[in-house]
Symmetry: D2
Subunit: 424 residues, 4 copies
């Protein structure tokens, strides 16, 4: 389905007066309100193709209806999100789930929907039906050189698909590791993984980046071969200037200070991208901002601080993507909530009085430093975010409009109640 512009305009018209009343204090009080709004307009978050269907756990999966059955339908779903919030103008594909059959048609569709192709993702954590060798004991780390070569070849193929579509980066998330003490020679696993990554790196086009994603545990439960930012940094450093670390919020040990990791990686010029989600226990892949919104805000404070210090462009110089699993929610509604949570955190972080903050820090005025951050966080920035959406042509309240239009009902009507997204 496509969003009807009349419906969108009617929706906005019905909410406009209230919105303007809420927004009014901003334009008066905040000097740089316009600048913040423009940054919000520019900020785009990629939607991964696998987040459009209902997720699940090892214990089971409870699918919803109307889920996309093809790459085309996945793009339509992202296009719909983007039409609603004007902040989801990119899609991240996963190979082999999303191999395009007709590249030109796919590109045309993307263009119509206003989407670009974000990082492409390889998959060596599962065996595909037609696969010669198994990844049961790893891929790029595997003891058998033939398995490693197969995984390298797959990554190069992923790059090839990405080039065809106009992607500029490859994300390598490895589930490689071990489940039991003794299973792995850690040094060999590291060296083999590095050599494999070097082979992939060699195939990277000049203007591409490769993101080495780390994860503390799961699906391996004793060790992960790219298990923390330190390891990822080592790989990325040894690979070269096109290699970066990718941070996924859910991939850490309990209580990790992720914002500090972000600051260090930015300082070293090695932060490449971000996967947003939220969690309480492990890689729970919950809606962004649903569990620890203050942490999200603190991370954005570091991102802005660190990017500005390097003269990086907020919108383009890091890869921003949602990576969550929607076990008990409508995936599209969940994504609307996630994008909004990211925008709110970004807006709040933009409001931080950084000059005053630095002054407080230099004076060891801990109380004041906290006040400055909390002042920004306690501010209700929803009017700013809504205004940015309005200016960009989106809906004042995307979720409300989604429900009002019964989008899910329409999708079920078009696609059926029992559909399974490829890759789920």
């Amino acid at each position: 389905m496509n969003l009807n512009q009349n419906q969108l305009q009617n929706h906005n018209a019905s909410l406009l007066a209230r919105h303007q009343r809420k927004l009014a204090p901003w334009t008066g009080e905040l000097e740089n309100a316009e600048e913040v709004i423009q940054k919000l307009v520019d900020f785009q978050i990629a939607i991964p193709s696998w987040a459009l269907g209902t997720g699940g756990t090892r214990f089971g999966r409870f699918p919803g209806g109307g889920e996309p059955r093809s790459l085309e339908e996945k793009m339509d779903d992202v296009g719909l999100l983007h039409a609603l919030n004007r902040s989801s103008g990119a899609i991240s594909l996963h190979i082999p789930w999303d191999v395009p059959s007709d590249v030109a048609a796919i590109q045309q569709r993307a263009s119509q929907l206003g989407l670009r192709f974000d990082a492409v993702n390889s998959n060596t954590f599962q065996d595909q039906p037609d696969q010669a060798l198994s990844y049961k004991f790893g891929s790029l780390q595997h003891a058998d050189a033939a398995v490693r070569q197969q995984a390298i070849d797959h990554n190069i193929e992923v790059i090839r698909h990405g080039v065809a579509l106009g992607s500029k980066s490859l994300t390598v998330w490895l589930s490689d590791g071990s489940c039991f003490p003794g299973q792995l020679n850690f040094r060999k696993a590291f060296s083999r993984t590095l050599e494999s990554l070097q082979a992939i790196y060699a195939a990277l086009p000049e203007d591409w980046k490769v993101f080495v994603e780390y994860k503390a545990f799961e699906p391996n439960f004793y060790s992960m071969t790219v298990g923390d930012w330190g390891s990822s940094y080592l790989y990325a450093s040894k690979l070269g200037p096109k290699a970066y670390t990718l941070v996924d919020l859910g991939h850490h040990l309990p209580n990790a200070n992720i914002e500090q990791i972000v600051a260090i990686l930015l300082q070293e010029g090695k932060l490449g991208g971000f996967h947003f989600n939220d969690s309480k226990y492990g890689d729970d892949d919950l809606t962004v901002g649903s569990i620890r919104p203050y942490q999200l805000f603190l991370i954005f404070c570091e991102l802005i601080e660190g990017m500005d210090a390097r003269g990086m462009n907020h919108a383009d110089d890091l890869g921003w993507m949602i990576d969550a699993s929607h076990n008990v929610k409508d995936p599209l509604e969940d994504l609307l909530q996630s994008v909004e949570a990211i925008q709110l955190a970004y807006a709040q972080a933009l409001l931080v009085d950084r000059a005053a903050l630095e002054e407080a820090r230099e004076a060891n005025d801990v109380v004041r430093a906290q006040e400055i951050l909390q002042d920004a966080f306690r501010t209700d920035v929803r009017p700013l975010v809504a205004e940015a959406r309005l200016r960009a042509g989106g809906a004042l309240n995307p979720l409300a409009l989604f429900r009002q239009l019964d989008v899910r009902g329409q999708l079920i009507g078009e696609r059926g109640l029992k559909t399974v997204a490829t890759g789920l």
Copy 2:
């Protein structure tokens, strides 16, 4: 396949001299060696039917070959384990995966294999193809009374199957909970779950027990309605004398002192059973004893202390079961390793000089108390466990014999390379 008794005897004969040399110091030095050996002979650990196939994670599953395709073949596998180690003489069924079509035939097979039927397990954490209502938002806690009734009826049906086979207990593990703050009214969820459990309890035969298993997280990632031992204890207390708490080693928050929980529950007369596995991060379901063998030993120290204090019989008065997932190992080999690890911990705990330990405790002699426990733990009790196996008619080295006989190869020959166990 059946274990050929000749092969077993040849295996034992070939290892006997070495075994006797290793055992010799025991019979000389340890006063109660005979008693320990007898307790080891008596101690039986139930094997769950779902542990006989390759497990997996939400990211994928890498099946092995020769996996059991039916309840009958699952029983054969447990029978084989039992023939090898003489300590796996019970099977725990999972409904609906293991509904017996011909009860009499199943009972006869069990009798031939020397197996009894341990606790039966209900499943309301997944939807079955023919199911009227979904458990997506819980079962016994569900807002809709009709879903709760469906789940109650299922549990009562499970009891009925258990009665037919001679089981004496029902294990209720609920995945009920919530993934997001706000999703659940905790009080209503508790009350509804309690009422549902009361309806199940009412259907329990006179000589049955019901085990209320708790789990801190997964597959729900914000709250679990039976989330810790305190909650489980509350349910069990309110239900009545036939209701008990069941402890699964992997179902706790990081760093929990499980042995203390065991001690308290035993003291309150509310510990009902145990699910053995090991883990480093969450419910990793790794081989028993593969990560924290000392913790396993400490738990057995509390079990023995607490059971003896209440005059309970080690072998019968608690339910002992392995509950693990074999993602990268042959399931049968993993189970052999798990049973051995349990036996070693049990044997070491039996060696603890408890009179001396109590004396040290009463004198606040912390150093001595630690020495006493470590003395037992550092002792190599493998000869004792092997001797127990030998006397009971098992193999001196079950795993070695399993490999020597190429059991897996034979099973693949019989059942095929690509089989899928029901329920996986």
Copy 3:
């Protein structure tokens, strides 16, 4: 020093116009704004006497200046806080640090400062210089009955002091536990602790409560004898109707769902009180709301829901206290920040549309339930809290006024730069 009413009024006058502008939308849009403001006025948070000086860690302590040197000066400090925010009208004493020498004079001072005496706290986690027997190996759990009796007597003496001052409750936090496996017989430790508590309970006046506080770890690092809510609940249940569980936010294992614990304890009629602080790793005792403000809000949602369900009075029927350690902040500034954070969370929780929330829950509308909570949390309720302060006679911005008046400088002038609060 005393707060000069003129200064207070000048401060408020200077901020009034801006405050009224911020408040204006509330009185128009929020139906029950008046009710929320009144609840905020009524809500009082006790300040513990030990929170008025600089805290420290086992590695060191970096004292500030002007710290209170006596019970009288501690009361003055709380009086000052209360004069600023009108929400700290209670002080919680710690015996033996705060034994009053002249009860009548102390009561008169309290009356002048508008303070009442909250729960009294016993101390059996340290040895006092004149103490006959040591608590090195525990107090109420101790193997030696004489040590237990000494600890019981101490608690009874604490009650006596509390009665003299008008307290109505005793908080028992025990550091009892063990540092090493084997050190403790868990069952004996439990039974001895219970018996000791029963002796204390027997000395409790008719209209008193006793709070049994639990803690997962520290200062004992293997087991704590009152280690979790389940244990505390068991003790409180066995003691009787005057015994309750006390929850301290920092006393849990990583990732614990504290709001669910609150809900269960309220439902069972056994939640007695709260110790507020915040933390990232353990019992870090940081400023309330400085790390996980959303969790604090969720806890207040459960408190309100659960108290209302039982017809409890928010202001009186639970004990509310801050329990933090101010290692790098001015203690009084930290307390002002903490009280504000509590009020904000309370106000936000009061804003939750509970009827709509229940409706969403009953419909399993997870997205909507989350929206409802987030809507309240994302609202900037600072104007409401400031208005409540204003009406109660406090400062619109207590922290700003505290700095403007250079309160700390004055205290240093009065008391000196190098002072040590009793008990620190």
Copy 4:
């Protein structure tokens, strides 16, 4: 007191027959028994001067008696331990607690006791009475350059003391960090710390090493400026070839895979040393091997594997030290238990059939790899360790002899019941 050689010999004589009976199977069955014993003889673990007195927590401290009152008495205590176990032939000093007044006399005493001086340790986590500027807000990271310079100067002074005594390394453990979000500019804190370390590095003698120790949390509870191995590696890399990372077992987030960290650091040539202790929750500083002995064994497996791969000498090429706190045990008894636990883990790791292990790993035989490790761990190697002690001139059972001789009683007699070690 000095250990009487007659008493030692009598002790050994009384246990010799039993020891030889236990040892006998080894010399027959284990090919490389002699080699293992020799490695155990050579392996020395440094004792830190601050571990000789009773430790404490922020809640209190329960001192024992007969604690050393001076550097000389601390050396005597280590000398005594070394006389008992012949494996504690090094002492690690802490400045300013252990500034030697007469270097020559100290050196002579060390020579008589058979001790060498291990790494010297600086202290910028506390303020000393005569100190000009405070470390309340950090030392090497401090916003104020004068504080940084003071901390740099202190470290250079520590090096000077170390040079005088013959130490060859400096351990820098920084408590620098922050307690609250906002307090610190992470990038500036990193840069300042790096610059300060560079100034210290510049003062390092040619043949010295500097160890940069990391810690996840405590005493700062939001961020630590050297917070994990990745950070420490970055500092050490930027500093140069004399800079290394130091791993303390208790300084990690929950569930960290420390053995993998060890393997990576060894591979990168940046592992410098080790601080041994054990813990369940945080930096609990419990007796080595008292909580997770299998983890200790796994770490030693990686140490041996990694050191051998680089041709490093086990005894000399890494710094080995115990770093624990003895809150409820006699410090000397605790240290005897700790050294024994380290030796057992080392011995078991030496027994691992590494050729077979590599073969299993290359074949992805996870079951076999686990069997190989567990086979070594389940072996009772106490006779080997005792034999090594015997050959080196120590006691067969140091702890038993310590008690038999009533060493603590004698120390109390010499030094008094109420003594306080410098620095505690």
